[in-house]
Structures are given as C-alpha cells and as structure tokens.
Amino acid sequence: MFSLERAISYAPPMGFEAPEPDDDAALARRIMASAPARDASAEAEICRRLGPRVRLYGLKHLRNEAAAADLMQDVLVMVLQKLRDGAVRDPEQVVSFVLGTARQMVIDGRRGARRRVQILEAFPVDLTPADEEAPEPLDTKRLGRCLSALPERERTVLVLTFYDDRSADAVAAELGLSAGNVRVIRHRGLERLRGCLEAAGGEA
C-alpha cells in the first residue's frame, strides 16, 4: 500500500547516506558488459524494478491476471536475453525498450499459448524471478470499517466502478446520473477511502 509508512521505510538511518542505486540504464549497461557471463544482481534488480510495471501494463491491456503474469515473464525473458546479446542499441532507453516489447507482445495476437512457447524456446534463459516485492496486503477488517463509513452514494459508485472496471459513462447509465457527476462521486469516495485507510494505518 502506498503510504507514509512505506516512504519512511526507504529512508536511510540518520547520519548515513544510502548509496545511490544504479538507475535502469546503468543496470542495463552492467548486464551488457558482463555478457556472456551473467551479472545476476543486476538482472535481479532490473526484474524487481520493471516486472511490476510490465504486469500492471498487462493488467490494463489484457484485463486478466494470468495473462498479465505471463506477459511479465515473457517480456523480462526477452529483454534480459536481448541485453546479454548486446541487441539493445541504447541502454539509456532500456525502459522504452521494455515498454515497446510489452506493447508488441500485447499486439501480437493478444497472446496465444503457442506464441508464448515459441518465445520461451527462442530465448532459453533461466529467468531470475521477477521477485516482485509482495505488496502489503490490505487489512480487510480496516477496509470494511472504512467502506461502511462511506456515504452510501459513494459506496455504490465505487462498487459499480471496481467490480468489473467500468467507466464513468457506464456507471452513469446505470444510476441515471451524468458521467461528470459519477467522476466527482468516484473521486471523492476514493480519496475518502484512502484517507480512512491511511489514518487507520497510523493508529495501528
């Protein structure tokens, strides 16, 4: 969960400066420079950073958890292999390269199982697990308390929105409201809910 708690957890202890971590481009250069040997820590770090973003992109464009997880794995496999092969022309643009790879994979037939097998066969790397940092799970009791404290109208709009990710236009049509009105209620409800969750987190 995004919160002050997490931001604070990144802060170095007083009196110590945390070493500046490599940026994405630096990690890409390290992987390329190490080839044909492997720089396992750089590979793990680039997967840790970019894996969740590829997964989020996959969720947005494929609307399916399993397909998004497959996309993440396939993209990372291909990107690592391309980096090891020196086939990424500009390591400074590695993030763009990852996005381009993800885009192309989504376009390619919205991804059939056959293509996936082909990718894994064509790029036989032992993928360092993306090792996505498991997000702190939402406290369902706390969420329940915060949801029950929401005005009924906001609760209805949030449920209609998030049950199957429906746009303001679609929700408005079901409630006889304008899309603009739904956006206002949705935004207010979401902010109220997040505020309640963060406040409750501070109390815990």
Partner: protein
C-alpha cells in the same frame, strides 16, 4: 535515498485504468508509468484497492444499494443470487441458504420525481438506522437492496421494516414501506 512523489493526479490514473482517455493520452501514460516508479506504485495501489472493494461485495460482509442491471450482470457472471420482489407496502418471507452468494430485494417504487432518497431501517435484531442519499435511477421504478449475507446467516427469526423516504430540502415524504420476515433455512 528518497522516493519521488507521483505528480499525476489520481483521477487521471483512474481514468487511464478505466479506459476513459483517448489513445494519445493512454500511450503517454503507458510511457510515464513505465518510467515513473511512484506513479506506477500509486496506480497499482488503486487497482489493489478496487480488487479489495470487489472482494468485499462478494464476501457479503456489508450491505449495498445497487442497480438491478448490476445484479443481472452478477448473475450472468455465475453468482447465485436469491431475489425477492416487493411492491410498495409489500411483505415477504425471506431466507438465505448455504448455496446463495447474495440475497437481494427489489423494492418497486415510483421515484420519477424524487431528487434525494433515504432509507429508514427498523430491524428486530440490529435496531434502527437511516441511510442517507442513496444512489438510484429515478426512471428505474425502484431500488435494489443487497443486505449483508454474512449478517443474514447469523439470524434466526427476524423482522425488518424498510421505509423509503423522499427528501426535498427540509421536506420529507414517505414513498413506501416494505416488510421482511426472515426465517432460517
């Protein structure tokens, strides 16, 4: 090390997620989210919160007021929904069985001239409560209440009266009463 804050407004991230933006904006945000860990994390947290809200509905710990069209979609997606239909002034004997995912009450009512609608609930177990300003479609001819299934499962015999009240400024007008006689399955 400090973590840069996400400067993209939450409503923009949500609009992107819900496919409300044009292609150019979507593409721009695709790129930004890949480059910006803070915004990517914020969107992920919004998506996670949305999934948790969905799960709360399915768990049945809370009551909701939802449109009938939404209930139809739930049924089409495979949820087992026990439904009761009541006319104004109507009464029904109702229950919940282990096979039910949700129980809903469709309460018919003339709402075309109603601007704000409140619920007054008198429950023989939970006591009295008022739910203000519920979301409803005035042309839908009624509202659909989805009580907490988890709560219903704890009940033996119980009696609940629901009153719909139209509110216009300081004026209130009773639209209809409905009576639910719950018995264990």
């Amino acid at each position: 090390m400090t973590v840069a804050a996400c400067t993209t407004p939450t409503q923009d991230l949500l609009a992107y997620w819900l496919d409300e933006v044009d292609e150019a904006t979507e593409s721009r945000l695709d790129e930004h989210l890949f480059a910006c860990a803070a915004c990517s994390e914020r969107l992920r947290s919004i998506v996670e919160l949305g999934a948790a809200i969905r799960n709360e509905l399915l768990r049945g710990d809370f009551g909701f007021v939802l449109p009938a069209a939404f209930i139809r979609r739930l049924k089409e997606s495979g949820l087992r929904v026990r439904e009761y239909n009541l006319e104004p002034g109507g009464s029904v004997n109702c229950t919940v069985t282990p096979d039910d995912d949700l129980v809903v009450a469709h309460m018919r009512a003339p709402l075309h001239d109603v601007r704000r609608l409140d619920f007054l609930v008198q429950d023989s177990v939970a006591g009295s409560m008022r739910v203000n300003d519920i979301a409803f479609d005035p042309e839908a001819g009624g509202v659909t209440m989805v009580p907490s299934v988890a709560f219903l499962r704890t009940l033996e015999h119980a009696h609940q009266r629901v009153r719909l009240v139209a509110v216009d400024g300081v004026e209130e007008r009773v639209i209809a009463d409905y009576t639910f006689n719950h018995y264990p399955s």
